[in-house]
Symmetry: C2
Subunit: 430 residues, 2 copies
């Protein structure tokens, strides 16, 4: 089979007209499908219904240290919740704070704290005459970029390779520019590419020699136990320990949550970091709140027991998610595999498939799919300021639709890719 | 009976020695009692155990608008939670945002937002060369003052009268000084005095003509439905509506929570304010979080049904709290009523009794009580910077101890008051 590039103008015109007929037929169905956000589907939510029944008597609401979880107190989390999420994020129990329902909210608060008060006594970022800077491996998570944009922090794109960010570039910026204060990382099954950072990349992170004393790695291990294949699970080096070994124990903030383990919005979230960073942030935390929801902390502990219980639970998620990922990947492969108009990776975990269209086509493809009733993440969203310099990357979120909807949606997507790509190539052949 | 002031030096010395013997006897018991914080007691927490059982099936977790409360989405609260807390805080449903578990956290975030980004587009407070200012009716809530202190905001004491803050002074500051950006208010059953703002005071608030466009009243209606006497409930004018009538719809942020209705730390909290303020803060909120805990919102709605259900529930709290307040008040009355060494109000709601010792005695009384095993709120805590200019005010929190413990604790407290006051007066009579 010929790629679109290899086709003659006439062949491509014919193909284009055939696609248009097909597209109009599907469009007429008036579908409403959503592949835009990394939301678990209903079948996944049903897995955690047992969570609703683990606490009902007074005695069940008392923590292992005798804390009545129904009352005020315990700023940084009950010990059993710390144990559970410390195991999840692979840090010692003294290196963790349990927060509320959202790791995103913790990240926002850490940036806000640095902006208004300063990290560990350093100059607050709001007091600089020029904007401070963050490095942003791209493509990445739009909500990370939204936080730094909100605080007027200048964002610098860093290309992501198959083993993690371009570390030559990261080292160049971090080790030389005192205005570079942070980097956003999703080290395992990155959003959206599903990239897993190699041991060498993690070690190079730990051995950075920041020009800024208040430089921090924002290590959002959102998909730490979110594998698709029980027999092929990615492992990454534990960065806090690596930072300690390299003599920079304070350089990393690790984030995790149970949002995609139990119920998004009703889970628990945590930050793992050095004791100095914990002491620093607790100065704010003690002013900000009397404490987070300990009943919900206890609920999660009672439901899972320990990290092994949580990992077993994640295998059930994988059973539901795997066929969805594979359905999309199969359609991409069978419909686009030989046409030369798109590339993608095959992620082994996480929530997304990252598609790279021909340069200059992503926005139009998303528009086209929308015409036929399929909502995709906005093109550009995976880049700071919403600007994909190549207008190429599209994030596909296969988790929420039912398998039947997903197949329909994926077919509309590939049809949109073909149509827009054909148009684009016809321009150049014109 | 003579007051301590009327006693001769010899009479007072004799009294003092008698008290000391009594004190040493109690001290020898090695008690551990806590009247320091406004925590509900276990009997109160037991009232809400039904909350644990209202959600168990999938269909119960769907909101009235079809929202699956187990999944992401709905930034500002499910409609039924808005209805419940809008009724609680007496604003229209379009004027409310539901947050997480803590109204204190909302207040912190509103100050942080003003500090780092600015209120409705005004200059961020962090960009001023000199500190901005807050008015602080005193005595007041230590955690309010901690927020403004944290952001380096200068706090100005405003005396609290029986009907609310000294409004002449409030008007003088607010209407003339553009650096005055806010005021902390607990308008009903104030912390710690139990003062209820009169209609005239509320109207004068609504008719302020702030020199600063970004001046806001932080109206923490923490005890809005927290009455002690079902037949004698305080009502205050609804300030948002009054501000609208006066042409200043954006001047107030109202806060409320269910912390002392269901479970502290596991309740839901809300802010009521103008639509312009809501739109302004949502710009931050949408960056900060995907949404708060909707399952817990729904749990509260299912448990109470509506505001009437909540009010009935509060009557049960009152039945538990009333005897505790009365026990302390009776001991104060019988032991100190005629000695001229302290005054106090009789609150009709809220969580505290506010005691005024002779000037210069509060710190020593709290120390003395601690010697005998009773923890009180630190003297000075009810004033900005922890500095009570008269060293007189002590906040008594009678809610947490059992009735038996409370009686014991109150007796130690009055004994401490007598001892320290006698010493103080002996100095002057020396």
């Amino acid at each position: 089979m010929k790629t679109y590039q290899e086709m003659s103008r006439n062949e491509l015109l014919k193909e284009r007209n055939r696609l248009e007929v097909e597209f109009e037929k599907i469009k007429a169905k008036g579908l409403k499908l959503d592949m835009s956000r990394g939301k678990p589907g209903a079948a996944q939510l049903n897995l955690s219904m047992g969570l609703m029944d683990v606490l009902s008597s007074e005695s069940e609401l008392v923590g292992v240290q005798g804390t009545d979880c129904r009352n005020y107190g315990v700023l940084d989390g009950i010990i059993e919740a710390k144990q559970l999420l410390a195991a999840m994020t692979e840090v010692p129990v003294d290196n963790i704070i349990i927060f509320g329902n959202s790791s995103l909210n913790i990240m926002f608060d850490m940036v806000a704290h640095a902006y208004s008060k300063g990290v560990c006594g350093a100059k607050p970022w709001c007091k600089y005459d020029e904007p401070v800077k963050f490095l942003c491996p791209v493509p990445g998570y739009d909500r990370h970029f939204a936080i730094t944009e909100y605080f007027g922090i200048e964002m610098i794109n860093i290309p992501l390779n198959d083993d993690g960010p371009d570390m030559d570039l990261v080292e160049k910026y971090v080790n030389n520019d005192p205005l570079v204060k942070g980097i956003w990382c999703v080290p395992k099954y990155s959003n959206p590419d599903g990239i897993v950072y190699s041991d060498e990349v993690v070690k190079r992170f730990a051995n950075l020699k920041p020009a800024a004393e208040d430089f921090r790695i924002f290590w959002d291990n959102a998909y730490c136990i979110h594998h698709l294949y029980p027999d092929d699970q990615a492992e990454i080096l534990e960065i806090l320990h690596e930072c300690e070994k390299a003599g920079h124990p304070d350089m990393v903030y690790k984030f995790c949550s149970t949002s995609k383990v139990t119920f998004p919005g009703s889970g628990i979230a945590a930050m793992g970091t050095s004791k100095r960073n914990i002491a620093d942030f607790k100065k704010q935390m003690t002013v900000q709140t009397i404490g987070h929801d300990k009943v919900n902390q206890l609920r999660h502990v009672k439901y899972f027991g320990d990290i092994e219980g949580m990992k077993k639970h994640m295998e059930k998620h994988a059973e539901i998610l795997r066929p969805k990922f594979e359905a999309v990947l199969n359609i991409l492969e069978s419909e686009l595999g030989e046409l030369g108009i798109g590339t993608w990776r095959k992620p082994k975990g996480g929530y997304f498939i990252s598609f790279y269209a021909l340069d200059g086509c992503a926005k139009e493809i998303v528009e086209k799919a929308k015409e036929a009733g399929v909502v995709m993440t906005g093109a550009g969203a995976t880049y700071p300021y919403g600007k994909d310099p190549h207008d190429s990357n599209i994030r596909i979120a296969p988790s929420f639709p039912t398998p039947e909807e997903l197949e329909e949606a994926a077919k509309i997507f590939v049809l949109s890719v073909k149509l827009v790509s054909a148009d684009k190539l016809l321009e150049t052949k014109g």
